[in-house]
């Protein structure tokens, strides 16, 4: 290794997002300001489980193909389409030109599962029908195609230096940003594009339902009556780079990625420990890396899925970090649904918008306090936002925290 490590600040110079509350940052901001949830009855997912409210992106696959200028006869998956829309917005804002020197890091778990579940009976038969979707099933190909379609609208060669994919369930996109920051610190690249993308699938909707943690009503994070999560979908990518590189290019700096933490709860494959050891360690590390004290954090963007287990253990972990002086806490899951692998980067983009607008959206779905949980923010005066701590926790105890700060 010849490159010298980079010790300066890592800044955000571009961001793109699609979720149930909006396509692009402008629409997203309007929904967050208005306190408008994107949760609704199933409209696009092919499923017989219509009883669950979901946070779908309000676009059909055909509409997204047309927005991206993709020939409708080219095989794609919904995750690829969502990812390409978000990546395109991020790249346009950043003004990055030489993509051949920039790595692309994507977080996904479902990958091409929406098509695989639709065509699986063909896949396993000796018929050739729909076999073009077999090669689109895996997470890595999903990333490669997001990179290609976002830039050229064609499935051809990826324009980035290289791509890789992180798959740590619901913390995938947060971990993609953590890897991106380390690549910049190592000196191997000056800028990285990182985020995550995930579409709804019956595979994980019905899968989560076998664990009995999907609510048939709108989710109620931190509420005493919470009974589970609602699933959502979406994608978000951020362009992160060394402050020197941003200054040299004259790029507008949107925020600073000031700290990251990754820890493993090492407790259970799908449940979190009661004292939230993994979440606690992830938040502690992020604070240490940012050189901040707990009292410097002005808002905690909680993982807050609305499951009984997550919200109580996350509350315990937040109390361990902040003691009696807990800053405003809220979860966006009642706006977007749980966007699983993409949630870490979607909520990082929300944090950028919050810092820019000095905005804490009101918690939706909260009415009754639970002694085991924190009381989420429901309005009222708050301190000016300088530092936001954003949590993303996944199956397997893969817990990550990011701190985004005002420039």
């Amino acid at each position: 290794m010849t490159e010298a490590p980079y010790k300066g600040r890592i800044v955000v110079t571009g961001a793109g997002v699609v979720s149930a509350v909006g396509v692009g940052k402008a629409q997203t901001l309007q929904s967050l300001r208005a306190g408008r949830s994107g949760l609704d009855a199933v409209r696009y997912l092919e499923t017989n489980r219509k009883e669950f409210p979901v946070g779908e992106v309000k676009l059909s696959d055909a509409e997204m193909l047309s927005m991206l200028g993709i020939d409708p006869s080219v095989p794609v998956t919904r995750t690829i389409l969502l990812g390409a829309l978000a990546l395109k917005e991020a790249l346009e804002e950043s003004g990055l030109e030489e993509l051949s020197r920039i790595p692309l890091i994507n977080g996904t778990t479902v990958g091409g599962m929406d098509r695989s579940e639709r065509y699986y009976r063909d896949f396993i038969s000796d018929r050739p029908d729909h076999s073009e979707y077999i090669a689109l099933h895996d997470c890595g190909t999903t990333t490669d195609r997001i990179g290609a379609f976002a830039v050229s609208g064609k499935p051809g060669k990826m324009p980035f230096a290289y791509a890789t994919t992180i798959s740590t369930a619901c913390s995938s996109a947060a971990n993609a940003l953590i890897l991106g920051a380390d690549i910049i610190r190592s000196g191997a690249a000056e800028a990285v594009v990182a985020g995550g993308a995930e579409c709804l699938s019956s595979f994980h909707l019905n899968g989560f339902d076998t664990l009995m943690i999907v609510d048939r009503q709108q989710c109620r994070p931190f509420d005493a009556t919470r009974a589970g999560l609602n699933l959502g979908e979406g994608a978000a990518f951020l362009v992160i780079e060394s402050e020197e590189s941003a200054r040299r290019r004259g790029a507008k700096v949107l925020a600073v990625l000031s700290g990251c933490g990754n820890a493993c709860d090492a407790f259970h494959q799908t449940a979190t420990s009661a004292d939230g050891e993994g979440p606690y360690l992830a938040m502690k590390q992020a604070l240490e890396e940012a050189g901040l004290k707990p009292e410097d954090i002005d808002f905690v963007s909680a993982h807050g899925t609305g499951t009984p287990n997550n919200d109580s253990s996350e509350s315990a972990a937040i109390r361990r970090i902040f003691g009696s002086d807990v800053p405003p806490v809220a979860s966006f899951k009642s706006y977007t649904g749980h966007t699983t692998s993409a949630s870490g980067s979607i909520e990082a983009v929300f944090a950028l918008l919050q810092l820019q607008e000095d905005l804490i959206p009101v918690s939706l779905g909260f009415s009754q306090a639970d002694p085991e949980c924190l009381i989420p923010y429901t309005g009222g005066p708050h301190r000016a936002l300088r530092h936001i701590l954003s949590n993303a926790f996944g199956f397997g105890g893969n817990d990550s925290s990011l701190i985004l700060s005002r420039v």
């Binding site: 778990t109 396993i124 090669a135 290289y162 899968g207 993994g278 105890g397």
Partner: protein, 262 residues
């Protein structure tokens, strides 16, 4: 940047004898584990014990397709092909990170834990992260895992899209990285997801697949063979170049003998 060393490794491939599972896993635990999970428990226990480590600072896994057995069972149930109901265990173990999570639970390792799933570059992605973390001083040791499970249905599906279906087999590899040269087998000079400089003499993916059969993480087996050769003094160092005509991207791993030789 610190130097990174390879302390130990353990592999299970098509060429390995079946391990004595009872030594590692109780029958109760084994009941809930897929075949690839059992193999990874074996390779990780062996690699950690050879390295004299109980709990590494980081656990980083790479798997292109994850736990295939569980994923297939869920897809069969979901599409009505098996006529069986969906099982929660299949869903829990269908996420790719279930392997690194299981090892973290067993070693009580609260440290950095990440899983890569980038088709034939999953192992190199994991190895690159481990190498970078140690080089940056963020972890002092890392357990890097490569895991691929196979099945008849999967072989048939892959054959439809141009992969050979002749010699696929489960592959489990665990490698321990460290910042200390003491007792190390070799140095891990660098790992990148880029091609080597022009004219570099390389061990290729094809030559490794010729020995072990095609498998998404076959270069992990090839890397371990080269580590062994360097540790025994048979080789001074090597460059392994991984590329595939079927997917985009490539990777380069550089291994070198310890300074002053062994």
């Amino acid at each position: 940047m610190k130097k990174v060393y390879i302390k130990s490794f353990h592999t299970l491939s098509a060429l390995s004898e079946a391990p004595e599972l009872r030594k590692y896993i109780s029958p109760i635990e084994a009941r809930r584990m897929s075949s690839i999970m059992k193999k990874i428990v074996v390779t990780s226990s062996e690699a950690l014990s050879k390295a004299g480590l109980e709990c590494p600072d980081a656990i980083i896994a790479g798997t292109g397709l994850g736990c295939v057995e569980n994923t297939e069972a869920l897809l069969m149930a979901l599409t009505g092909a098996s006529g069986l109901p969906l099982r929660p265990t299949d869903f829990m173990q269908s996420t790719h990170n279930t392997i690194a999570s299981l090892i973290a639970i067993r070693t009580r390792c609260h440290g950095y834990n990440v899983t890569y799933s980038h088709h034939f570059l999953s192992f190199e992605s994991a190895l690159m992260d481990g190498w970078m973390r140690i080089a940056l001083g963020r972890s002092r040791s890392a357990l890097v895992i490569a895991a691929e499970e196979t099945s008849e249905v999967l072989s048939m599906m892959l054959a439809k899209v141009g992969y050979g279906n002749e010699a696929v087999s489960d592959t489990a590899v665990s490698i321990v990285l460290s910042d200390s040269p003491e007792g190390a087998l070799c140095e891990l000079e660098s790992v990148t997801l880029l091609p080597p400089s022009e004219g570099t003499k390389c061990i290729t993916r094809d030559s490794i697949a010729a020995k072990y059969g095609e498998n998404l993480c076959v270069t992990a087996l090839g890397a371990c063979d080269e580590i062994e050769k360097i540790a025994s003094g048979e080789s001074k160092g090597v460059v392994i170049f991984n590329s595939s005509p079927l997917k985009e991207g490539c990777a380069t791993i550089k291994l070198a003998a310890l300074c002053g030789g062994n």
